[in-house]
């Protein structure tokens, strides 16, 4: 009897997470845009505008370059699948993510890389200069992001003795305030810096730009239209949930449900929503208050993240707690 309850409970938590993360993703973009607009003394689009955009694009007929091959059609589907499956591995509501035990933080990073590979490749399919621009920038910046990302997550993995995100989150919740050691905070700082780059916000990328020459992520999907644009936009929105959820699971696990009582589940949903909305607000503030860095100045910012993460690991090893 116990196992069936546990299985049922896990199913409920998993379902709640799926609905929450996939449903709330466009809203976060709406919040970010709204915050940015208000800080710039503009009215800004309605909070639900991203949903309306998706519906609008979904109904339109796609236009495809006559230089493009089958990759152009397949890429949006693979990009979305990779990022959606990655979110299913991250404990956002309960300490057991929907696909608990299927993969660890390295698999999440790997799936993110898969999405990037396919999107960057498809940007070259139409033979447009702007696609090449966005694609080459994306992969180059990713080389600065990934070491810091992996190193920051490694810090938490060493602390927990496991790369299992569920186990890391559970340990984080269980140890309460003792989880937030100086090494962990350094890793969190490093992760926060690269998270901005990974989700394409200021000062690395401007998600609202309409100038092709400055685009990174937008440049890669410039050729996409109709449902394909909707899929890629939605994938970018889910990716924000993924990155924010990953940050929260590892560096701010407070509130994540360890058991399956309705109360703790309710608390967990509220905490997850609060964290996601918090991230969206912070990104809006960043977008409004920071100018974009010159692309050649990015190594300075992003290498700092790697160094901070390395310092975090060094303090963990060399300074006895």
């Amino acid at each position: 009897m116990m196992p069936s309850t546990a299985v049922f409970g896990a199913l409920v938590v998993g379902l709640v997470q799926v609905v929450l993360t996939l449903g709330v993703a466009p809203l976060l973009l709406g919040i970010t845009k709204r915050v940015k607009a208000r800080l710039q003394y503009r009215q800004g689009p309605p909070l639900l505008q991203p949903y309306r955009d998706l519906v609008k694009w979904w109904a339109k007929q796609p236009v495809e370059s006559d230089a493009a091959g089958p990759l152009t059609g397949a890429a949006p589907a693979i990009v979305l699948a990779a990022v959606v499956v990655a979110t299913l591995l991250v404990p956002i509501v309960g300490a057991r993510p929907p696909l608990a035990g299927w993969g660890d933080l390295l698999v999440v990073v790997g799936l993110m890389a898969l999405g990037r590979f396919v999107l960057a490749l498809s940007a070259l399919d139409a033979g447009s200069a702007f696609g090449g621009m966005g694609s080459s920038r994306e992969v180059a910046i990713a080389t600065l992001v990934e070491p810091a990302l992996v190193l920051a997550l490694t810090g938490a993995a060493v602390a927990a003795g496991s790369t299992d995100l569920g186990r890391i989150a559970a340990l984080g919740v269980a140890s309460g305030g003792a989880w937030y050691t100086p090494p962990l905070l350094l890793a969190a700082a490093a992760f926060a810096i690269v998270a901005v780059a990974e989700t394409g916000h200021e000062p690395v990328d401007n998600p609202d730009t309409h100038l092709e020459l400055t685009m990174i992520h937008e440049g890669m999907m410039l050729e996409a239209s109709g449902p394909r644009l909707a899929i890629l936009m939605y994938a970018a929105e889910v990716k924000l949930v993924l990155v924010a959820g990953l940050f929260a699971a590892v560096f701010l696990p407070v509130g994540i449900a360890l058991d399956l009582t309705p109360i703790s589940l309710l608390v967990a949903v509220a905490a997850a929503l609060a964290k996601l909305i918090g991230v969206a607000v912070i990104l809006g503030v960043l977008d409004a208050s920071l100018a974009k860095l010159r692309i050649l100045a990015l190594p300075g910012l992003l290498a700092t993240a790697s160094i901070v993460a390395a310092v975090g690991l060094a303090t963990r090893l060399w300074l006895p707690a």
Partner: protein
């Protein structure tokens, strides 16, 4: 010749069969032109031998008991002793699979050579045979014989029948460096043989324990120099990016896929088994070489726009990833943490097998492209996916696999390597220096993976997507069926091994535990759900990703009618000149990693007379290879200077030389008095 079986049921007959097939293959290649088509006969026999190699390797791994044989008994002495164990079996499987694919590919690829005119083709079966012998040689004599045959036969294949100046130079450099490596091995073997009183590896293992620590260390360093040169690890890699691109592509595939792994085999066999476990710094040294090779290898690959040179630099990168695993295994076994050692060794051996698969498919695809277009220059290719869908699909899968993307095989072994590194970082049984080095290598491996993604987006995009950048690329046609079969077979193996990563790594884990001990199934820092898979849920994840992507594709892409239109190029007619080139694609990375790459550029603009409008613009850019510049150039310069000094006593007169001889004799007599 006589065969003496000591153990193993079908092992010895299989060995004999392989030898006979390869001998037949070599003879066929030397046969005069006839109606039999010696070329095809030779290749077919070689392919059959490869099938037998896979069978032999798999049976060795499955049975776990070694096959021992002695060959060439003359006057009561056996010249060659072989002992194939599961470790050798794994390398035999890699050799057999890559060799079979290369042989099938060669049927179509070498058909333009005509029937039976190229006698250098006889080196191909010799190359296969020598590799098979390296992975089983059980005494120093047999090992060096096989090693030397492997070097000479591959050099012959690189240089070919009528070498151009560039090819001859590359072949020469390869010969010189491979012999420096052999010299280091001979010295190390001589030290061991004098301590053991025998040349057999078994005796070496017993003698190593009695050597002084300094003696054992120097033997290890000598062996490492020899094996790391063959593996193409930085800083001993200079021959590799020159020799691999100029060889015929099926030979490049074997050299990159299997031959350089002979160096890995040597380091594992000697470092962990015959000499080991050694002190911790052996592992640190190998880990450092591995990390440097991985990062620098992929960085230089990104700067290349010759497809095969790019792939050759990626071999250096992947050897680096393998050496990271070997380094952790050495560290862990030095400190007695056998479970971690087994995990790291499994990662290294798994990546060895995976690299044999995906690097072979990439080199074969490069060969297919070269024979279709006549160029390996990325800036002259483009848009080939339409004309060459089979090659494009195979290359794309190989590219995703080498970039370490799930659900392909490259990700599985990189995942295991990461597990080894993070496990080492948290392992209290290791020294703090070792743990810090392991965690630093995590950043290095992360950087390598991201750079590999960048490089293979560049390579795949420049070759297959967009508009063709030359007339010949626009007119390219798909190549012969046999070439397609070989490429698709290997690509399917990349997917299959990736999806079945758990069972495959379980088998390799058995080999590792046999070498370094360790009892637990596999101590990793991730415990997957029981029953799904031994690593992570490789298969189920692949199914879920594919299912989600399939649903999205059907409802969002397939069911929609598409309007096609020219790519928007701001009002101009789309042409290839608007596209990013391989050089411009890598520009940002060139600038980001400028302190290492030291890029130089030279732009000259010629104007239309009397106007400010350019008529022609010339761009020349290159990066400096820091090891070549800082290590080999000074070495070369000082050896030339030393030669100049010695030249002063070279008068050319016989009397002077006789006087030198007398003086030398007198000095010797005085010294040795």
């Amino acid at each position: 010749m006589s065969f003496a079986a000591v153990m193993g049921g079908a092992g010895v007959p299989l060995l004999a069969t392989i030898g006979a097939l390869l001998a037949g293959s070599a003879l066929a290649a030397l046969a005069p032109r006839s109606r039999l088509n010696p070329r095809a006969l030779s290749i077919s026999l070689a392919g059959m031998a490869c099938v037998a190699l896979v069978v032999l390797g798999a049976s060795l791994i499955a049975s776990g008991s070694p096959v021992v044989a002695s060959l060439g008994g003359v006057l009561g002495f056996a010249l060659i002793h072989v002992r194939y164990d599961p470790l050798g079996g794994l390398f035999l499987v890699a050799l057999g699979v890559a060799g079979l694919a290369s042989s099938v590919f060669a049927v179509g690829y070498t058909s333009h050579d005509g029937a039976g005119v190229d006698r250098t083709a006889a080196a191909y079966p010799v190359f296969l045979a020598s590799l098979a012998l390296v992975f089983g040689a059980d005494d120093a004599f047999a090992f060096l014989l096989a090693w030397e045959l492997m070097a000479l036969s591959s050099a012959l294949l690189v240089i070919g029948r009528r070498p151009s100046a560039e090819v001859a130079r590359a072949g020469y450099l390869y010969l010189v460096l491979t012999h420096l490596a052999t010299a280091a091995l001979i010295v190390a073997f001589a030290i061991l043989a004098s301590a053991a009183g025998s040349t057999s590896f078994g005796a070496f293992g017993r003698a190593a324990a009695s050597l002084s620590p300094a003696g054992r260390d120097s033997v290890f360093v000598l062996l490492l120099v020899g094996f790391a040169t063959k593996a193409g690890a930085i800083p001993l890699h200079v021959w590799l990016p020159r020799a691999h691109p100029v060889a015929p592509s099926h030979v490049s595939a074997l050299m990159s896929g299997v031959m350089i792994k002979a160096g890995i085999y040597g380091i594992v066999r000697f470092g962990l088994e015959i000499l080991g476990p050694g002190p911790e710094w052996w592992g640190l040294l190998v880990l450092g070489i591995g990390a440097a090779s991985a990062v620098l290898g992929v960085l230089y690959a990104l700067m290349e726009h010759d497809l095969k040179r790019l792939l050759a630099f990626h071999s250096i990168e992947n050897i680096g990833i393998i050496l990271i695993g070997v380094g952790i295994a050495l560290l862990a076994s030095a400190d007695g943490v056998t479970a971690l050692a087994a995990l790291a060794l499994t990662a290294a051996l798994f990546h060895t097998l995976n690299h044999a698969l995906f690097k072979s498919v990439l080199f074969l695809a490069a060969g297919s492209i070269q024979s279709a277009v006549g160029s390996r220059d990325l800036n002259a290719l483009g848009g080939l996916a339409r004309a060459m869908p089979v090659t494009a699909l195979a290359f794309g899968i190989g590219a995703a696999a080498i970039s370490g993307l799930p659900p392909l095989n490259g990700f599985a072994s990189e995942w295991l390597t990461f597990q080894g590194l993070i496990g080492a970082g948290g392992e209290a049984g290791l020294s703090l220096v070792a743990r810090s080095a392991a965690l630093l290598a995590v950043a290095g491996l992360g950087l390598t993976a991201a750079l590999a993604v960048a490089c293979f987006v560049k390579a795949t995009g420049m070759v297959f997507l967009g508009l063709p950048r030359s007339l010949r690329a626009a007119e390219a046609r798909e190549t012969a069926t046999s070439m397609g079969v070989a490429m698709v077979g290997l690509a399917a193996a990349c997917i299959g091994v990736g999806v079945a990563a758990g069972p495959v790594s379980g088998v390799i884990g058995g080999i590792s535990r046999g070498m370094v001990g360790g009892t637990s199934p596999r101590a990793a820092v991730f415990e997957p759900v029981a029953g799904l898979d031994a690593l992570y849920a490789a298969g189920p994840l692949a199914v879920v990703v594919l299912a989600v992507a399939g649903v999205v594709w059907i409802v969002g892409v397939r069911r929609r009618t598409v309007r096609r239109a020219p790519t928007w190029t701001c009002g101009n007619v789309p042409e290839a000149a608007f596209e990013y080139t391989a050089t411009s694609y890598a520009k940002l990375i060139r600038l980001y990693y400028g302190p290492v790459l030291r890029p130089e550029r030279e732009v000259s603009v010629e104007l239309h007379p009397g106007t400010p409008f350019p008529r022609t613009v010339h761009y020349r850019g290159e990066v400096s290879h820091v090891i070549d510049e800082r290590l080999y150039r000074p070495l070369h310069r000082s050896s030339v200077a030393a030669a100049q000094l010695v030249r002063r006593i070279q008068s050319g007169s016989l009397q002077a030389y006789l006087a030198y001889t007398v003086v030398a004799l007198v000095v010797l007599l005085l010294v040795a008095r």
